[in-house]
């Protein structure tokens, strides 16, 4: 099953649930009408929150940059010794 079909099925199921809520009026109808809006807003909030948290916790590794510089120096030394023409920059 294509992935978009899965997502569509989920959306259809949700709408079915919503329509049945509208008809049975377990909760007041005025609330039920707003449910899709709440759904979209919470989805948006979830997205923003995830991006925000991801940004705050973004894993960085400044130490790795230093280690890499050391590796580069070491590699250049070895390669020069072997006569590989790596330039002088």
């Amino acid at each position: 099953m294509k992935h978009i079909v899965k997502i569509m099925t989920l959306l259809v199921a949700l709408s079915a649930l919503w329509i049945s809520l509208l008809q049975t009026s377990i909760i007041p109808e005025s609330y039920t009408w707003l449910l899709p809006l709440y759904f979209i807003i919470s989805l948006g909030c979830y997205g923003l929150l995830m991006v925000g948290v991801g940004l705050m916790r973004f894993p960085t590794c400044p130490h790795e940059a230093i280690l890499l510089q050391q590796d580069i120096v070491e590699a250049k030394g070895f390669l020069k010794g072997k006569g590989v023409d790596i330039g002088s920059d």
Partner: protein, 241 residues
């Protein structure tokens, strides 16, 4: 573990375009970090004008033509087909794909190999977004787009891996052949398509943490309207996988 490792051969495919200095450094580092492993390095160079191929030939003199293979193509034909080209010449039963620009450090190769042996996974993919992983050298904007892209893809595609656009990966050769033949995207989306298709096909995928230091030498070859391409790719994957 050592026994199984002895029977395995790893073909490391490194696509290059104008990576004269980087390719020399990375080949040295690969040999440094893979001491008791049977491997070959396949450099797929797309006619780089900076003399990348000359350097590779010199490195063949140092390390041997059976360990460092140069499989060039006449002109710049793109990354996806570079992997396919390299794969044709691979003699190992496992294939590693990595960038030449030192963003993918060869010191992680042993942990890819170890993870594969421990779990029997078909694919081991490097991830920057777990404990022990990380990125260095990105500005806020780059981090923001990366996080945004990741959240979007995770919510819409449910791919089952934490880092979709990373391209430092170890594959069983047969699995790579199977997956790559059904991939058509380019650039970043290509990496994403590979892992999403593999995941949909039910292949066992494992992750290992890697750190990613933005390139020191040379210039980026991807560019332009990356975000638009990414979104198009996302839609494409939604309807085709």
């Amino acid at each position: 573990m050592d026994e199984t490792m002895k029977k395995n051969k790893y073909s490391i495919i490194v696509p290059t375009y104008n990576e004269r200095l980087n390719i020399a450094l990375i080949i040295y580092l690969i040999f440094k970090h893979l001491k008791n492993v049977d491997f070959e390095i396949i450099v797929v160079d797309d006619g780089s004008p900076d003399g990348t191929q000359d350097i590779v030939k010199q490195l063949q003199q140092v390390y041997g033509e059976d360990r460092v293979l140069l499989r060039p193509r006449p002109k710049k034909l793109g990354l996806g087909t570079a992997y396919i080209h390299g794969l044709k010449h691979a003699s190992g039963n496992f294939v590693v794909i990595m960038d030449a620009d030192l963003s993918h450090h060869p010191k992680y190769l042993p942990s890819f190999i170890k993870k594969q042996i421990e779990t029997g996974a078909s694919i081991v993919t490097g991830t920057r977004y777990v404990k022990g992983g990380g990125v260095h050298g990105w500005n806020l904007m780059r981090k923001l787009t990366s996080r945004g892209a990741n959240v979007l893809a995770q919510t819409l595609l449910w791919p089952g891996v934490s880092d979709l656009t990373g391209s430092f990966r170890l594959y069983k050769k047969s699995v790579l052949e199977d997956v790559i033949s059904s991939c058509v995207s380019k650039g970043y989306v290509f990496q994403m398509e590979m892992i999403v298709r593999a995941s949909r096909k039910g292949y066992h995928i494992e992750e290992v943490p890697i750190t990613f230091v933005d390139r020191v030498y040379g210039s980026s070859k991807l560019g332009g309207s990356e975000i638009v391409e990414y979104l198009k790719g996302l839609v494409y994957l939604l309807v085709t996988t």
